[in-house]
Every structure is written in structure tokens, then in C-alpha cells.
Symmetry: C2
Subunit: 201 residues, 2 copies
């Protein structure tokens, strides 16, 4: 067979992408190691050279997904001053990501679904939520300090803002039929309503 030897880095990336693609199409349980290997013309043996088990591929995929997501969020909002702008940009970022890289973002369902059978996965997801919470809560505090808006209950507003984004991701992952451009155009408006600007007195 044609051996196209690659560096471990390249192969791992390929395997992760192949896994993502397979999990999208069949779900975690139904996607086989042979499916994943086949995506780049590899064999089962080569998969097990890089990963000790199927579950470890999933874990690495989640790590990759979480890294990409959080890195993306931070780099989007880092150059902005106003808390409102940051929140708006964050919302827009997720929607644009969903448009541009549907497959990556709709991996969510695979991870969330596997939280049933796997405590490790569940803990990682809780970890992600904690990080989301930290980001959003600090933005809400910052907005209050800057006197941009007032939030009656930071915990709840934080939870609901995150829920809104997640709900959107999940719905689009299943339906692939949302008009995301319209949603994108309304983000600032919505944030303006949820966090109305303070009257200057």
C-alpha cells in the first residue's frame, strides 16, 4: 500500500477531523474506527498507533473543540473596550462560527450526548460551562462598573445568555435550516434590549 508517512502532528489532526466528520454523520456509537481510518485512507492499526481507544479520540476532539472555541472568543473580544461591544461580538462570533464551520460547532451534540455514558466527558463539559460563566459574568460586572447597564441578577442573566447561544447552536446543528444572517443582524439589538443602556443623568 502507498505509505504516505506523516508527522504525528499532521496525522493526529487528520484523525481528529476524520472523527469529527464521522461522528457528525453517524453519531459516536455508530461511527466505527474503520470509518475514521478510511476518511484519510488509513487503516485501523494506524489509528491505534496514535490513540489507545475510541473514547480517547472523542476526548481529544473535545479538547480541540474547546480550545478552538475559547481561543476564538478571547481573540474576538480582546481588542474591544466596552462590555456591551464584547457581549455583542461574542454572540456574533458564535453565529459566524456556526455559519463558517457548522461541522465543528455541531459537534456539541456528540459531546453532550456522550455525557450520559461517560463521567469524564460530563466533567469536561461542566468545565466548559464554568469557563463560559467566567467570561460572561466578568463582562456583566465590567459593564456595571463602566455604568453601561445594570443587571438585576448576574448569575441568571449569565446563564440565560449562554443558554441562548447554545440553544441556537443545537437547533442549527439539527435543522441546518436557520436563517443565521438574520439572527446576526439582530444581535446588537437584542443585547440592547436585555441590557438596556443607562440614562445619563
Amino acid at each position: 500500500m502507498a505509505r504516505r508517512r506523516e508527522s504525528a502532528e499532521v496525522r493526529k489532526k487528520q484523525i481528529i477531523e476524520a472523527a469529527m466528520h464521522c461522528f457528525q454523520n453517524k453519531g459516536y456509537a455508530k461511527a466505527t474506527i474503520d470509518d475514521i481510518a478510511g476518511e484519510y485512507g488509513l487503516s485501523k492499526g494506524s489509528i491505534y498507533w496514535y490513540y489507545p481507544s475510541k473514547k480517547d479520540i472523542l476526548k481529544d476532539l473535545f479538547r480541540y473543540w474547546m480550545d478552538e472555541t475559547l481561543k476564538g472568543v478571547y481573540s474576538e473580544i480582546s481588542d474591544l473596550k466596552s462590555a456591551r461591544d464584547k457581549i455583542v461580538r461574542m454572540g456574533e462570533f458564535f453565529i459566524r462560527s456556526l455559519i463558517d464551520d457548522l461541522e465543528l460547532y455541531s459537534s456539541m451534540l456528540v459531546f453532550w450526548g456522550s455525557s450520559y455514558e461517560d463521567d469524564f466527558m460530563r466533567e469536561r463539559i461542566m468545565d466548559l460551562y464554568a469557563q463560559y460563566d467566567e467570561i460572561v459574568k466578568s463582562l456583566l460586572s465590567q459593564g456595571e462598573e463602566n455604568r453601561e447597564f445594570i443587571v438585576p441578577n448576574k448569575e441568571v442573566y449569565c446563564t440565560l445568555l449562554i443558554a441562548m447561544i447554545e440553544g441556537l447552536v443545537i437547533r442549527h446543528a439539527v435543522s441546518k435550516a436557520l436563517d443565521l444572517d438574520s439572527v446576526l443582524g439582530e444581535v446588537r439589538n437584542i443585547v440592547g434590549r436585555v441590557l438596556p443602556p443607562l440614562e445619563k443623568g
Copy 2:
């Protein structure tokens, strides 16, 4: 073995409940027919007396879940006049349901996850979304007709309100750690912000 013969109606209900419980704990793929049968001390054969396949149990569970949910929503809001009140009540209903019947509502993830492998399931979910859309969109229209509020973009607001609820359900299904009572207390407030009352002129 002690045969405890039951009517088809009772057995089917038992099987659905057993399946829900097993799917919660292990996910669809990992839960076995023997697991489901064991919940009520039945045997594999008796499951197949009522259902032709494992997937058909899932389908029936979804039907049950969707019926309960929509029935609940309609009965909650039917006695209210104001569109705002209806929207508030709807939000509160989902949160209370999540508190009172976590298992039923966190079944969502099982269904959503199975949309990957099964087109039938995916269509059913799209169907559910369509019904949600119909309810919320008509409430938004009604609110505008009553001059309770104005919505810049009905489609988008509808999508986001539904997303918020779904995101909440899913997060709580995974984490089981949200302070839902706090969220419940903020529903009216949040709706008030998203759909601010019109100034009477």
C-alpha cells in the same frame, strides 16, 4: 416465573418509562433491551411483543415526550389573555417542568443525539421546532396586535426565545446544577426586557 399479565396499555407505558430511565443513565446506544426489560422484571421477549425494534421504542418515547410537552404548554397558557403573560407563563412552565420532571425533559439529549443516525428522528424534531415556532410566533403577533410590545423581527425573536429555553434545558440536563428557582424568579423581568411594554401615548 411469576407472570403478571397486564394490559397492553399498562405495559407500553411501563416500557416507555423504563426506556426513558435507561436512556438517561446509559444513552440510547449503551442501554440494552435487557436493561429496559429488567426495569419492570420483564424479559426481552415481552419487549418484542410490544415493539418491533429498539428504535421503535425510542420513536414512541419521543411521541410521548412531545405530546406531554405540547399538551402542557397549551393547557398552561390557554386561560391567559395577555400575550406577555402567555410568554412568561410558557417560560416558567418549562423551568418548572425541568424542576419537577428532570428525567422526562432531559430526554431531549437522547432524541437530539439520535438525529444523527436516524432521519425519521430528525424529521420529528424539525416537526417539534415547527410547532414551537407556531406557538411563539402567534404569541408575538398577538402581543403586537394588542399593542403590548413591538418586535423588530418576529422570526429572529421567536428563534431566540425558543433557543434560550432549549439551552437551559440542555445545560441543566447535563449539569443538574443550575439554580432554577432563581431563573424562575427572573422570567417576567427578562421577558419585560426583551419585549418592553409600549409607552401609552
